[in-house]
């Protein structure tokens, strides 16, 4: 079982439903061990289908996928032994307490009693659910349920943890909270994490690598920093009046100005670093006889990358 430092590899992995729907279209993933990888994409992009294949819930139509070097079709049982999963919807038995849910789950994986009980206490304290541990889960808030599910996913010491939309439906406090848990847990346990999300901030905050997925394909892949850098310059936007032509001429001669465009009365100036160059741009405008009414600086975000590659059209029309 050689993994070459890869926790997940797929080769032309495809899932087709009937003849019409191509949910996942020949994707190739290569996810390094001990990293967090985010599949970012609009609703209906094929993220959950991908996770379902990798977690052995559904069989691929064609192509191959390996998790920790094990083929998900041929060695499904061994794969199941090595992974932890949280699903898009909250999947907790309302009749069990938090502690019972964890205990049941650990027993499903055949974890011995001593190890189990120690692990349950450790994880309950980590996700700050000790006090609620003996209450039935139907009394939990959405955030508490997610935290319990996170603990459950980790109780079996998985080599790979799959988190399908881990913060969907949570308030901003709980979301940031969950991010912190995921990061702490990942560094403490050396688990590889594959998560799906359609929140840019989530991918930006957590992921070492991001794959933007749309229409069943990975359209672009890289670290958040690389992807944002690809978008190029910071942008200074100016509205004003006066000698626009002269301003344009002078600005273009500045070594750090990468582009200068004007549309609908708004000037867009691409520069290497917006905050640093703002004052000089303002000076140049004044010297050229251009009066500024409004000025703002924007830096490209993962959101811009996302929209650039996936467009603005709704996917689930």
């Amino acid at each position: 079982m050689s993994t070459n430092g890869k926790a997940i590899t797929t080769n032309a992995l495809t899932k087709r439903y009937g003849t019409e729907v191509l949910a996942v279209d020949k994707i190739d993933l290569s996810i390094r061990t001990n990293t967090i990888y985010a599949l970012l994409g609009p609703n209906g992009a094929g993220k959950t289908t991908t996770i379902s294949m990798l977690t052995t819930l559904i069989e691929p139509t064609s192509g191959r996928a390996e998790v920790v070097g094990l083929d998900v079709m041929e060695k499904a049982d061994q794969v199941r032994q090595r992974i932890g999963v949280t699903f898009q919807e909250i999947v907790l038995d309302p009749d069990l307490t938090g502690r019972e849910s964890l205990n049941f789950h650990a027993r499903l994986y055949g974890i011995g009693k001593t190890e189990r009980l120690a692990k349950i206490d450790e994880l309950l304290s980590l996700v700050e659910l000790e006090e609620a541990a003996d209450r039935r889960t139907n009394t939990y808030s959405g955030g508490m349920k997610r935290r319990l599910e996170l603990a459950r996913g980790l109780i079996t010491n998985p080599a790979v943890l799959f988190l399908d939309e881990p913060t969907q439906g949570l308030d901003p406090q709980n979301r940031v909270n969950i991010w912190e848990y995921i990061r702490t847990l990942q560094t403490n346990t050396n688990t590889t994490v594959l998560l799906t999300t359609h929140y840019m901030e989530e991918a930006e905050a957590l992921a070492d690598q991001v794959g933007i997925m749309d229409h069943g394909k990975i359209v672009v892949e890289g670290s958040p920093r690389e992807l944002i850098a690809q978008m190029g310059a910071d942008n200074i936007q100016i509205i004003g009046n006066g000698r626009q032509d002269l301003f344009c001429e002078n600005a273009k001669m500045l070594p750090y100005v990468e582009n200068f465009n004007s549309s609908n009365g708004i000037l867009q100036i691409g520069v290497d670093s917006g905050n640093r160059r703002l004052v000089e741009i303002v000076d140049t405008a004044r010297q050229s006889g251009f009066v500024i009414e409004d000025i703002s600086v924007s830096k490209p975000s993962l959101g811009d990358v996302f929209l650039k590659y996936t467009g603005r059209q709704l996917r689930d029309k």
Binding site: T55, T56, L57, I58, E59, D77, Q78, R80, Q81, I83, V85, F87, E89, V91, L92, D93, D95, L96, E100, F104, H105, R107, L108, Y109, G110, R136
Partner: protein, 259 residues
Amino acid sequence: MNSTILLWQKQIKKALVHPEEIVGMLIQPILWVILFGVGMRSLMGSTTPDSGNDYMTFMVPGIVALTAVSAAIAGGATWLNERLIGIVKEYLVAPIPRLSILMGNASSIVTKVLVQSVVIFLVGLLMGAKISDNPIGWLGGLLLIAGYGIGFSGFALAVASSTDSSDGYHMMIFLLQLPLLFLSNSLYPLETLPAWMRLGAYANPTTYVVAGLRQTTLEHTPGMGTIANIPIFLCFLISAGFAFLGMYAALKTFNKAIT
């Protein structure tokens, strides 16, 4: 095997969390014996004296079968609910055999059925049914009921695996349940039925299970005439076959429901 036991425990624990479920589970068969049984006894007793108590005796195994069917239906509904909430996915990504998931569910249903059966016999005894005192007979009776319970659980689980709607489930189950109960010897002797109904009853596993129960758990009194008209080995064979068929159907639809 371990995972079967684990899932059995979980289902039993879930039932114990709800006292109203336990109370209902015990009261429902009692009501059947007392209300239906006493009513029918009066009807019978009004035509020929003595046959009233005979009917109470005759009816008890039939009520056991009916209760087993109700329990299996409730078990199937629990499974459907777990499927719809998504809890089943937790089992499916775990390294346990698919069959153990079904066996865990079916065995928890059968456990409830066996508890209910004992209650029915005890209440029947109080109401004047003539129950055998032979422990081996009782053991045989419980085996027959277990087979029947597993079989019907299997079919209920199969239906629950092939529908996404609770209403649809109950409709389909109703269509299964009604002929299974009334097209049999549970509540009336085969001899009194018209030929076409008797034919249907002979094609119904319930008939064999109930006939077997009468032979193993009742005092052998003449009267309703049906006590020994089906060989006991056939009763056991058909109970076991029904259990096997039910599990097979459940496993088939289950695998289809996943992919």
